[in-house]
Symmetry: C2
Subunit: 248 residues, 2 copies
């Protein structure tokens, strides 16, 4: 399982992913699900992936091959805009689908993969895309502050409640970590280390890229403080008056 | 979709369910998913259901027929203990499976149904069971404070954080409503009115049974206060110091 979340804010983008993969509870491994492609001063792109690891690694591999190619074909490092970059990633998914889907089906394995791609290419505002297994994709509009892939439900309520386009990158990072914490607590197949990438608007390079372990001081204190704050906030909520009223 | 949650606490049980059913976004209806069976002074049983409505209604129908039967066969009102009651509910599911599963399969419809059954029968402590579509079931042990069926993920983190066996029934009801609120906000197919049933230990009858509308005063204020408390608690969390440190 995987949990990836990416936010598009007024001042830039925040990406957070876990790194646990599981093929059954006795096959737990650590694989990074976030990849950064950048040409400082010109562009920065961040790719997150969820689903079948063989598929998503193959997609990344195709994208790297394109970048290394000398044939002048479009790649994430040369494409003119982020829409084209999302199309390249979607096309890579389709290529793996053509190659692998039938064989996977023979073994009863679903073709399961999804991507988030975001960043900024000079000449455009920052953009964020969510790419489906079929290679098609949607883009974040002004009403969309974030995309999630993988185990998204446990960590969604806090995102909906606090993140706005006007949230700062610090608030974004904090919220992503709280959202990840809720997910880690509820799904054993999501776990640290976490990969956090922050892109500031109009910088065309990564502002911060960190690996956050379970014993990271900030994450650790955030988890404790948030648990405590939730319990306190819950305790302060009024209790229903009707329970102890005499029965009619 | 449906969300049902039931808690087994030291002082009794709390059950909460929504009432929205959907067969596509243009077929939204209100059906109650909680049924109470009681013989005051002797027993009180509460059944919650999620999944295919035709299946779960048929199950309830079988259970009612057994109760009305004059043949002396076991029913929810006569069985000696809650384990036997769970077995009756599981057997009813299996009967519907035998009758309907093949026909459903012809139409590509999965046999999807799950139940929660809890309460107290004189001579026993309160008990709580989660019953699967296959008719088998598990029982809450001292480590288990609650079961959920249906759309369970959005509302799970708060349950895990605040509910203990020692929580009061008021706290239980409050937490169930907060958990339901998170679910309603994130899944349009879960909605009010809500059915809340509270069973006090050793009373052998329902202590409180309420239908809670969206404009219910307590639920409404709980939703607002909780949103505000979450946002405040989030705002008080320290922000990461590293974001604005100069890049290495």
């Amino acid at each position: 399982m995987t949990y990836c979340v990416a936010m598009l804010l007024d001042t830039g983008l925040v990406f957070l992913s876990d790194s646990r993969t599981s093929a059954g509870v006795d096959q737990i491994n650590t694989f990074r699900k976030t990849t950064v492609f950048q040409r400082p001063g010109d562009r920065v792109l961040v790719l997150q992936s969820a689903g079948n690891l063989a598929i998503t690694q193959a997609v990344a591999s195709i994208l790297y091959e394109q970048m290394a190619g000398a044939d002048g074909a479009s790649s994430l490092l040369t494409c003119p805009n982020l829409f084209e970059a999302a199309r390249l990633a979607g096309d890579a998914l389709r290529e793996i689908h053509r190659r692998d889907a039938a064989a996977l089906k023979d073994f009863g394995v679903e073709f399961n993969a999804s991507l988030i791609l975001g960043g900024q290419i000079r000449g455009e505002a920052p953009r964020l895309f969510s790419i489906y297994a079929a290679g098609n994709f949607i883009e974040a509009t002004p009403e969309t502050t974030y995309f999630q892939i993988g185990e998204s439900k446990y960590g969604k309520p806090i995102m909906d409640r606090v993140i706005r386009r006007s949230s700062s990158l610090s608030e974004g990072a904090k919220c992503a970590l709280v959202s990840m914490d809720s997910t880690i607590r509820s799904n054993l197949a999501v776990g640290p280390p976490l990969d956090l990438v922050i892109v500031k608007r109009d910088r065309y390079s990564v502002a911060r890229q960190m690996s956050i372990d379970a014993d990271d001081e900030y994450f650790h204190s955030l988890r404790d403080l948030w648990s405590e704050a939730l319990r306190e906030a819950f305790a302060r909520l009024p209790e229903p008056g009707w329970l102890n009223r005499p029965l009619p």
